[in-house]
């Protein structure tokens, strides 16, 4: 087991990577570094170029411009079969004419190993993905989850520098998906190989990744840790894509380097810590503020708090079992905002049309241009 934290060397560097098909730009200048041993996710809506980027790294697509290096070597003109990457395909691409063991051992043909050593490696790889004893089975007789494990074993057995995963969990049902998320994370820590995951599921990306690149229209909108992406999204687009965020029109009233004040509709005046600002833009450009549903709470009648309090009317309510989601229209704001509350024992429930007092913190505000 390798130490994954010590060497944060980049294993993949992307410099102004471009890919176009005729007039259509799939990738518009991607610059990023993917570190040795990290779990990296490419997150974005369909058509944002995340799969194209993965396929250029794998060597299935030629770059139209820019530079791609893997492990310090320029990948220009290097075909897929000699790149130190392996891929888990969205459809798993299990060879239907081979057994499970033959599938897993497919890439070992060129390795200078004896037949016995290869067989042992296959058994180890199957063991690692929890398919002990499945070697002799026909590949087409496997379930979706098992196919995925075979695809994983088949890629990992070659000890690639980078494992590429193209929406590997999208074909699984919810329970299986959650189980595989944890298992992939565990596997990644165990083998210490860099994983690059393509997904459109923000929750999946948040759960599994060390860092996430959020992509829109062929560009990286933000590259950050899951915590930073969630708490400090750089744009409304990123904020809307990851989790739920309420937006309120706002204006910066006082801005100098140390003291920033905004006036947000429905909430009033708030002092902002400069730490809360995304880099690269001036707080004076503020057009709106964002606030996550779970950072606010509804006070039941008589409850006091030392947090800031805004008032509004309950427009609607949705019960989720563990949570209740309220739609509350703050006084002086047109659009209702979402507030989520844990369903604690004894906490009263507000009905539609009731007055609500909403407690919030200036620290949880995010400023947007």
């Amino acid at each position: 087991m390798k130490d994954t934290r010590a060497a944060a060397q980049p294993i993949i560097t992307l410099e102004k990577v471009e890919k176009y098909y005729g007039d259509y730009y799939a990738l518009r200048g991607i610059t990023a570094e993917i570190r040795q041993g990290e779990f990296f996710s490419l997150l974005g809506p369909s058509g944002c170029g995340k799969t194209t980027l993965l396929r250029t790294i794998a060597g299935f697509e030629e770059l139209s411009g820019g530079r791609l290096t893997i492990d310090g070597k320029d990948m220009k003109g290097v075909p897929a079969n000699v790149r130190p990457t392996n891929m888990v395909f969205q459809s798993y691409a299990i060879f239907p004419h081979l057994t499970v063991a033959q599938n897993v051992g497919f890439g070992l043909r060129r390795e200078p190993l004896s037949r016995a050593e290869k067989e042992r490696k296959v058994i180890e790889a199957l063991d690692m993905v929890g398919l002990k004893g499945y070697g002799a089975r026909a590949a087409h007789a496997l379930s979706g989850g098992q196919r995925q494990r075979v695809a994983l074993a088949r890629a990992l057995i070659l000890e690639p520098k980078v494992l590429l995963l193209d929406e590997p969990l999208s074909a699984l049902d919810k329970k299986m998906r959650e189980q595989m998320q944890m298992e992939l994370r565990r596997l990644q820590r165990q083998v210490g190989i860099t994983f690059i995951l393509v997904t459109h599921d923000q929750e999946e990306a948040l759960i599994m990744s060390d860092r996430i690149a959020v992509m829109f229209e062929g560009q990286i909108a933000q590259l950050d840790t899951p915590q930073m992406l969630y708490r400090r999204p750089v744009s409304r687009q990123v904020a809307e894509f990851i989790g739920v965020m309420n937006f309120l029109p706002a204006k910066a009233t006082v801005t100098d380097a140390t003291h920033i004040e905004v006036e947000a509709a429905g909430l009033g005046r708030a002092v902002i810590d400069p730490e809360q600002l995304p880099g690269g833009w001036h707080p004076g450009e503020t057009q709106s503020v964002g606030i996550r549903p779970e950072t606010m709470s509804i006070l039941f009648p008589g409850e006091t708090t030392d947090r800031r309090v805004a008032t509004g009317v309950v427009e609607d309510r949705a019960y989720y079992g563990d949570m209740t989601y309220y739609e509350v229209r703050l006084d002086g704001v047109e659009k209702p905002m979402t507030i989520s509350m844990k369903n604690l024992v004894g906490r009263p429930v507000l009905e539609r049309g009731e007055q609500a007092r909403v407690a919030w913190d200036a620290r949880s505000l995010v400023l947007f241009a």
Partner: protein, 295 residues
């Protein structure tokens, strides 16, 4: 349920309805397949002397077929010619099917397949005669080569012998081989080829380890489709085969029509059928592992 059936009285039960449904095709199949086959089989145990048909059952025809070396030689030659035709047809069909499946843009594939079937718009006989024109002593092929100065006198080994039979039949059966191989290639998930490349294999090894095994059901089908009918072909050998290119079907025809010995012809037909059947079964047994359809 059955009491409420609005169908005719005799069609009440599902089984009866089923029989009713298959009755027509069954009668059709019996009349056109089983009856003629049975007749041939029966004839082969009879004997004929000029115009009188002796209907005592005897193995005389089979004894003659096994003792006279002419028949054995004809059967063996038919087998070898068919094998050569099959090999030539499938080996040339594969690249064509591969090209259409992998390199022709999807919206043009239907047109390509359509174009491949164009030779079938004319009669088989006309196509055979066309090959005579192409391969003949003063034919297109020879005059072109002589015009180009590649040869000084016409090649004679290309018409009225086995080569001509193989060329003509390979052309005639090409679409029958191209289509099943094309269908098998079309069914291959292209990601599998990417997976093969991703796992370290180049184009050639990916072809050998992924594409070819997955296309085998089509290849096996093509081999059978070409092999089985060519062994019974008698038009092509008669027209372009010359004396050395004659096959067993020519002998069967001669027995039936010229020598007035239908029982002997029937016995030869049964033997040819048995040979084709056993060769095909052996071939299927050898390639069975490719035919298990993955689900």
């Amino acid at each position: 349920m059955s009491d409420r059936s609005t169908g005719p009285r005799f069609g009440r039960s599902e089984a009866a309805q089923g029989y009713l449904l298959v009755a027509t095709p069954l009668a059709y199949a019996l009349l056109l397949l089983a009856v003629p086959l049975g007749a041939i089989l029966l004839f082969s145990f009879w004997t004929q002397d000029y115009l009188t048909l002796d209907t005592t059952l005897t193995l005389k025809n089979y004894r003659e077929a096994f003792t006279d070396p002419l028949y054995g030689e004809l059967l063996l030659r038919s087998l070898l010619i068919s094998a050569a035709v099959t090999a030539a047809t499938v080996l040339t069909a594969f690249p064509i099917a591969y090209f259409v499946s992998f390199y022709v843009p999807p919206e043009r594939k239907a047109m390509w397949i359509f174009l491949i079937t164009i030779p079938f718009w004319t009669s088989y006989l006309i196509r055979v005669f066309l090959w005579k024109v192409i391969l003949g002593y003063n034919g297109v092929f020879n005059t072109t080569l002589m015009g180009l100065g590649i040869i000084d006198e016409p090649l004679t080994f290309i018409l009225y012998n086995v080569n001509a039979v193989v060329i003509t039949l390979a052309h005639a059966y090409a679409p029958f081989a191209i289509l099943p191989i094309f269908v098998a290639l079309e069914k291959i998930d292209r990601t599998l080829l990417e997976a093969g490349r991703d796992l370290g294999e180049g184009y050639v090894m990916t072809f050998l380890r992924v594409t070819l095994p997955l296309a085998m059901p089509g290849v096996v089908a093509a081999v059978l489709i070409v092999f089985i009918p060519t062994i019974g072909d008698y038009v092509t050998p008669r027209l372009v085969g010359g004396p050395d290119g004659l096959m067993i079907a020519n002998m069967i025809q001669t027995q039936f029509l010229k020598l007035n010995n239908a029982p002997m012809g029937a016995a030869l037909a049964v033997l040819a059928m048995a040979m084709v059947g056993s060769v095909a079964l052996i071939f299927i047994a050898l390639t069975r592992r490719f035919l298990r359809a993955p689900r």
